[in-house]
Symmetry: D2
Subunit: 281 residues, 4 copies
C-alpha cells in the first residue's frame, strides 16, 4: 500500500505500538532501542527510516503489531503520572468551554502530571501560551517529560511556575484559566485578576460539597454565566453481531464548573436577582 501517503519513522519520534490484542505501548524511537512486550521484541533500528506509520510489524516471535502515531488519549494513558489525570472525555469539553483555540493564552493550576497541560499546548499553537502553576517543585519535571515526548516545539509553548497560587498569578489579561485544585473557591480573586474581562474560568472538583462551595463563592465575585456539568462516557464492545455497552464504565471523574469573568458584580442589585437561575423544582 505504498501509494497511501507513507510517513516514515524518524529517529526521536514518539510512536504507538498496538498489538492484535489491543494492548498498546508508547515509545520514543531512539537508535538501538527496542520495544519489549509479551508478544515479542521489535528493534527500533529496523523502523527508523524504514517503517511507515500505519504499518503492520512483526515481532521476533512472529506476532503482529501495528505501528501508529500516538493520539492525545494514547499519550495520556501512557503518561507517567503520580496524580489523577483529567480524563479525555473531560479534556475535550474543557477546551471547548474555555474557548481554547489557536493563539489562546491560558493559565492552569495545578500542573499535576501535565495531562491538561499537554492538551492545551497542542491546541494553542506557537502563537498561544500555556502557563502552568503548581506548588509542588517536582510537578514540572513529570509534566515536562510528558510534553517533550510529544515534541520540543510543543514543550516550548508551556511556562511552568512553582508557586502557591494564593500569592496570585503573574499574568494579567489571559483568555482562560482552569483550576484543578481541591479548594478553587480560595483562589477566585486572584483568578479574576489574571483573566481578561469576559475571560473563561473553569474548574474540576470531585464532590458535590465542593461544587456548592465553589459556586457560592463565584456568586460573590466578579463572575457570571455559572454552569455545573458532568460528562459520562459510555464505551461499546465494537462487535458487529453483538453490539452492546461495556459491562463496566467510569461512574464519576468530577463535576465541571464554568463561569465568565465580568467587570462588575452580577448580584449587586440583590443577592437573589443575580445570575442564579430560578429554581423550578
Amino acid at each position: 500500500m505504498s501509494n497511501l501517503s507513507p510517513r516514515r519513522a524518524k529517529s526521536g519520534d514518539t510512536a504507538l505500538f498496538v498489538g492484535k490484542d489491543r494492548k498498546s505501548y508508547v515509545r520514543r524511537l531512539e537508535p538501538g532501542g527496542k520495544l519489549m512486550t509479551h508478544l515479542g521484541v521489535i528493534a527500533f533500528d529496523d523502523l527508523i527510516g524504514k517503517a511507515c506509520y500505519g504499518d503492520r510489524l512483526t515481532t521476533h516471535l512472529g506476532h503482529l503489531v501495528y505501528f501508529l502515531m500516538p493520539g492525545i488519549d494514547d499519550l495520556l494513558s501512557h503518561a507517567r503520572h503520580a496524580t489523577t489525570i483529567v480524563q479525555p472525555k473531560d479534556l475535550g469539553y474543557i477546551a471547548l468551554k474555555l474557548g481554547i483555540q489557536n493563539g489562546t493564552r491560558v493559565i492552569e493550576a495545578g500542573t499535576g502530571s501535565g495531562g491538561l497541560t499537554l492538551w492545551l499546548a497542542l491546541l494553542v499553537g506557537d502563537t498561544g501560551q500555556v502557563i502552568s502553576y503548581d506548588r509542588t517543585p517536582t510537578a514540572p519535571e513529570v509534566a515536562r517529560r510528558n510534553l517533550t515526548r510529544t515534541g520540543e516545539a510543543i514543550a516550548q509553548r508551556v511556562t511552568f511556575k512553582t508557586r502557591d497560587i494564593a500569592e496570585g498569578f503573574d499574568e494579567t489579561s489571559v483568555d482562560a484559566l482552569f483550576l484543578d485544585v481541591p479548594n478553587p473557591w480560595d483562589y477566585l480573586v486572584v483568578a479574576r485578576a489574571a483573566l481578561c474581562g469576559g475571560g473563561h474560568f473553569g474548574a474540576l472538583v470531585p464532590t458535590t460539597n465542593q461544587v456548592v462551595d465553589l459556586i457560592s463563592a463565584l456568586y460573590e465575585g466578579l463572575w457570571f454565566c455559572v454552569e455545573v456539568e458532568e460528562l459520562l462516557l459510555r464505551s461499546y464492545k465494537p462487535i458487529p453481531a453483538r453490539l452492546r455497552p461495556d459491562d463496566q464504565m467510569i461512574g464519576h471523574t468530577g463535576y465541571l464548573v464554568f463561569a465568565r469573568a465580568v467587570n462588575a458584580r452580577s448580584s449587586d442589585v440583590s443577592a437573589d436577582s443575580g445570575d442564579k437561575p430560578e429554581d423550578v423544582s
Copy 2:
C-alpha cells in the same frame, strides 16, 4: 475595575450579550447597529471603542446585560443552521480523538451548518487546514457565514468543496477525517485513500444499526483500533442551596465511531483473530 485588563469593543467584533435571565444573543458590532431584546435596546455605537468585554451594560429600559466574547458553544447555539449540528459535548471529544492540534490537516464531510467546521478551524490554526465536503451546493454559504462571523482569518483556514464524496477526496495524506453522513460505510475506501498511514478516522451516527454497518465495514478494510462510544452530558441547576441535575437532559445525539488507518489488513490472519475484542458477555 478598569485595572482588570480591559479589551475594548471594536467595530466588526462578534459579541455575546447575556441578560440577567441568562438569555443570550450573538451579534456583530456594526456601526449604527442595535441589539433589540425583550429587556430593551443597546446601541452598538455606544459600545464600539468604549465598552470593554466583561462590562455590565444597561438597556434603554434599565435592564442589565453582560457584554462578553462568544465562546464556541455560544457561536454554535446561535449559528444559523438548517441541519442538526454536532453538540459541544461531542465536538470536544471528537477533536481529541481525531488528534486535532495546531497544524492538523483534516477533512470533514458533510459540511452541514458548519459547526464542526468552525470548531476545527479554530483549533488547527493558520498552519493547519480544514477541507469540508458537502454535495449540497448551498451548504458552504451557511457554514461560511458562521465562520466569517468569528473572523476572516478563521474562515481562511477552510476550503469548501461541493462534491458527492463517493467520487473520492482530492487530498491525500491528511491527518484526520470525519464523516457526518448517514452512510459512512460507503465511503471508507475513499476515506482511507485520503488519510495518511496511521491517520485518525471518526464518524457520528445516530442509530445502533448504523454503528453495526459501519464497524462491519471497518473490519473489512484498512482500519484498526475500532472504537464505539457515546457521551452523556448532565447539567446541574447551579444553585448553592439546592444543587441538583436539571430535570430534562439530552438523551441521545449519536454514537461516535473512531478508527485508525493502517497499511495492511488487521484481519488477514483470520476473520476472527483480528481487531475485534473478545466478547466476554
Copy 3:
C-alpha cells in the same frame, strides 16, 4: 382469536385504551359511559360483557384502539395528581430495596397523590398493610380515588392518617418506612421508633444538599447500611431499522437514600470508625 384466553370486560373495570398513535386513556367502565377521544367515540355499553381485553376496537370514526388492562405505570401516568409523583423507574427499585413483599407492613409519608401508596398496596396483598401519613387534609381524597379506581380490595389495604409526622407515628414494629418529604432528617427518631429492628428505611430527595443533611443525620442515629443511589431510565425508539435512544430523557427525579434500623449506634466506638465507607478518592 377467541381461544386465546379471553377476559371479558365487566362493569366497574378500570380499562386502558391505546390508539394506534400510542396515545392512551384510562377509564372506568360505567354503563352508559363513553370514551371520547380525537380518534372518535367508544360506548362502554358496547364493551361491558362483550369485549375482551386485548381486543382491537373501532371508534365511531373508524379508528383502531386497543383495549387493555392498565398497568401500574398506566395508572400512575393517568392518576390525578397535584404533587409530583414518584416515577415508575424509582417505584420498582424502592419496593425492592424496602424489602416489600406479600404481607409487608409499611409506612409512607407523605401521601402525596398516592402513586407510591398504590404501588405498595398492590404488592403487600391482603395480609400486608400500608399506612400513609400526610399533614394535608385533602391528600387522602386524591390518593383514595386513585386507589379505588384500581379496586376496592386494593384500597382496603391502605390506612390514611392526617398528621404532622413530627408528632410521631402510631405504629411500631413496621417492616419498612419511606419518607417523601423535603426534610426527612427531622423525622428520623420517630421513623426509627416505628420500625422493627433491622427494618428498612428509604427516602427520596431531589438535591445533593438534602442528601448530605439526611445521611449526616442517619449517622447520628440508630441506622446502618446507609446507601445513596439514583436511577437513570433511558428509553429507545422501538424501530427495528433505526434503533436509538430517545432524543430527550428525564435528567433527574431524585436521589434515593436507604438505611437499616438497628438497635445500637453504629458509630459509638468513634465518629469515624462507623458505617461511613472509606473515602478512596
Copy 4:
C-alpha cells in the same frame, strides 16, 4: 433499646450479618452452626431465641457485626448462581412493567439461578403463582435452594418445569410472561398463547442486535405497546462531607423490552401504520 419492637432470632431463620466494614454474610441459623469471618466467629446458639434483629453483635475477636434480616438484594447478591442474575435495578422495574402484584400468575423462562423467580415469588403471594421453565435439568435445584432459604411458603408459590419452551407452555391465560433467554423472538407465538389478552410480556437481552430481532418479531405478531428501555444505576459514596458518585459503575446489564398481548394484529392495516412510533430523527 428493648422497647423498639424486638424480633427475636428463630432457628431456621435466614439472617444477614454486616460487619463495620460493610462486608456482609447471609446464613441460615441452624442450631450448632457458626458464622466464620475474617472479623471472628459468632455461634448461632448464642443468637437463636436470644438476639433480636437490628442487634449489634460481637465476634469472639471483639469485632462488631450487625444482625439483620436479608433484603431481596442481599439474598440475590449472596445467592448461589452459575448464571448471570438479573440485577436489582432491573428486577424492580420488571415487576412494575409486568404488572406484578399480589395474586399475579406469571411465567418466566429460563429459571437461571432463580433470582427473578425469588423476587416474583415474594410479590405474588399465596394467591399468585410463578411458573418457571428451563431446559437445563439442574436449574431448578439451584433456584429451589435459593427460594427455600427465604422460606418454605415462598418456595411453594413456584412451579418448576424442565422443558425446551419451543414446545410451548402448559399454561394459558397467565397475567405476565418474562423471557430471559438469548433468542426470545423464537418463542413469541408460544408466549402469546400462554398469555391472557392484554397480558404483559417482557424480555431482557444484552445486545442491540437482539433488541432489533426481538422488536421486529413483536411487530409481526399479536403484540402492541412495544417498548425498549434500559436503566442505569449510579451509587454514591455516602460521606456527608464528600458526597460523590462511585468511581466505577455497572455500564450495562441488558436492554428491557416490553409489550402487551393483543387479540388482533396491530399492523394489519399496513406494515408502517402500526405500533411503530414515527421516526422523528
